[in-house]
Symmetry: C2
Subunit: 416 residues, 2 copies
């Protein structure tokens, strides 16, 4: 093994494991995201043009345009896009992440997560809940009303609550949730309740109107995926300091726009290495089947990049029946396999079910290519048509081609 690569990757692992993501504030996208304007829309995955976007991504964009008041209806929204009136930006390039379609626009409230160790910030939207929601491509009035509630009611309440609770250490929350059977991609029930546990007493104090207080409290307690977006922002905050370590072959981002899967590699700067995204295998909600499903999508794979999600499936035996894994043993084997393609393990994100072993951490592109073991991802599945929403959950692998492309570029850049 090339000793420079080893040292570089150990530095990468050290930075991941030393990262201390803390929820410090709630901000609006227009306050914090670089270059954000009314007609800019952030999306998940590598950059992509309107023509190449999948159905749910287009559906969500139509919804965002209506939410921002740039169009009155779907037809006007599409027209605006086709006339070039809207600019699309990859969330990652703005220091942000969003699940599935990953929509981030001017008026949306965001979690502000600071990596206390390195001083950097990352952002994500709030989770809307399951079913007919914008991140799965739905865009009707119910979806928009919920976004307005999040903007005008939930966000100010959480912001005020944080002034009572103080900053929330997300790594501690992740660690507790792993001990409660969450892998934090498709199972966030414990993490969401732990988040509720920390903010609800403050919410009980700071929201004066009784019906508003009830809606906010219910919104947080009823959403088993509420924590996902916060976990993603924490993941982004943990991975950004790992960028640009000379010689490192560690993956700093994995993300999908519903058409392509992209990865970034520490020693290779900001370049995306892309390949067509795979179709998840999993379980469908009643009335839907694989023929309805859109391929894999979203920035949420940042959680696998830090060692959660599919990588800690062994810690989450109950997720097996939600994502359609073969058995609990299969879940344990996924985690064991991921140890084959990672630099090391987390000293704090432990899996009690696996004798308190640490989560497999720091994906090494060389190991992926050498072993043929692909990063495993627990994911939600969207309907392929715009406007419908979530239809299931499953398991998907990152495409090998991304890793091969990255290894080839690495050989060029480092001349080996």
């Amino acid at each position: 093994m090339n000793p420079n690569i080893q040292a570089a990757n150990e530095e990468a692992l050290k930075r991941i494991n030393e990262g201390m993501p803390v929820l410090v504030d709630i901000k609006f996208a227009h306050e914090v995201l670089p270059g954000m304007r009314k007609n800019i829309i952030g999306h998940s995955g590598p950059p992509i043009d309107w023509e190449d976007m999948c159905g749910p991504m287009k559906g969500a964009i139509v919804g965002v345009i209506k939410y921002e008041g740039l169009a009155e209806n779907d037809e006007e929204a599409v027209k605006l896009v086709e006339e070039g009136g809207v600019e699309f930006v990859s969330n990652h390039s703005m220091g942000a992440v969003g699940p599935m379609t990953g929509m981030i626009s001017y008026s949306m409230p965001l979690y502000e997560v600071k990596n206390e160790t390195f001083g950097n910030y990352a952002y994500s939207t709030f989770n809307e809940g399951l079913g007919k929601v914008m991140r799965f491509g739905a865009n009707n009035e119910e979806v928009l009303e919920r976004l307005r509630f999040m903007e005008t009611s939930l966000a100010p309440a959480l912001k005020k609550a944080l002034t009572h609770t103080g900053p929330l250490n997300i790594r501690v929350l992740m660690s507790e949730a792993l001990a409660m059977g969450d892998e934090m991609h498709q199972r966030n029930i414990a993490a969401s309740l732990l988040f509720g546990k920390t903010v609800l007493p403050a919410i009980s104090r700071v929201v004066e109107d009784v019906e508003e207080r009830f809606r906010i409290t219910s919104f947080i307690t009823d959403n088993k995926q509420f924590f996902l977006n916060l976990c993603m922002a924490a993941g982004k905050a943990m991975m950004d300091p790992v960028k640009n370590i000379e010689g490192s072959t560690v993956v700093t981002a994995m993300s999908r726009n519903g058409t392509n899967f992209g990865i970034k590699v520490s020693g290779l700067g900001d370049e995306w290495f892309e390949a067509p995204v795979n179709m998840p295998k999993g379980l469908y909600f009643p009335g839907y089947s694989e023929s309805d499903a859109n391929p894999d999508m979203g920035d949420s794979t940042i959680v696998e990049t830090i060692g959660l999600g599919g990588f800690t499936m062994g810690a989450a035996p109950a997720v097996v029946r939600f994502v359609g894994a073969a058995s609990v043993e299969a879940a344990l084997n996924y985690s064991r396999d991921m140890m084959e393609i990672t630099v090391g393990q987390s000293p704090s994100l432990l899996m009690p079910t696996m004798n308190f072993e640490g989560a497999p951490t720091g994906i090494d592109i060389r190991k992926v290519v050498e072993t043929g073991i692909l990063p495993v991802i627990n994911t939600g599945m969207a309907h392929k048509e715009p406007g419908i929403g979530q239809i299931g959950a499953g398991i998907v692998e990152a495409p090998l081609e991304c890793f091969i492309k990255a290894v080839l570029r690495y050989s060029e850049v480092y001349n080996i």
Copy 2:
């Protein structure tokens, strides 16, 4: 195997597994417990006289007497007891249960749990939190103030909240919590948060005063053992219909008063079979050791009687480090061992960590005596002196002697 015994035990298992405990209301002890008066004190375990009670039980009783206004201070309280001014009653005989010292008195609010399948009711107090609390023998003003808060603030709020939420199915909650790594005796963090999830939205609505609302919300969210007492009431409601099945060798209650451990057996009516209680082995809070500890205590072993606690330790790998089990494998082995001494398994209380096997259910006194495998219990440890409180948590076995005595009586009664 005697076929009558087998049929009787299958009926017992069926009744346990069909039991559907539902939290229906909050009531005061004086409203619902038979014969309750101001100078009656309910305690955990089989009946016991003042002279034979352990330190923490005496400490708690002094506290209750002050709480009920029967004495101004500790000396007056002890004098009242010694003059025969107080009557002690085993909680089980009133259809109720309480953890550790298990104090239940006239003014205390109780969970009212109904077994929807059989129509019977059971009761337990609310959990006070950890540390210096009455159930561990503490009795100072801080303890009494908390009891008054529970009586005058928490109880009316929960009662009102239940009118909004409707009855809460406790079996469903138990099942979800098992999938989140609780065994529901020493680890109740998930179950407590799931309970909070159901009641906190209603609490946010029904409590008008902002500081009262904050205290109630914090009290529920801050207490990782909040669910324990509710689980115990559910256990009592599930086991009472199993009593008095002709010929059944299934244990219907296990309980300890800090001096003796007692069991009841279905085919043997209401008789307690007692033996001196064991000392738990476990982990002590900083500053304490085994020489400070009181032997095992409380009605909480009702949760093992229904198949939770030590019996489902395999579902709760994270409890291992709290109770001082040797390893995760040891926890799995405890659950496997308990399958050797039970009639069957639960169809709904599943252990995802053990490939979704059902909890070992229905302790058979014959199997305990034949195999020598003793029911394993996860327990809290109280300081042996009155007035101090919890000093640790650990694992303890039920004493074999209780089971031998019960088997001998069974032979007499059934003439075999």
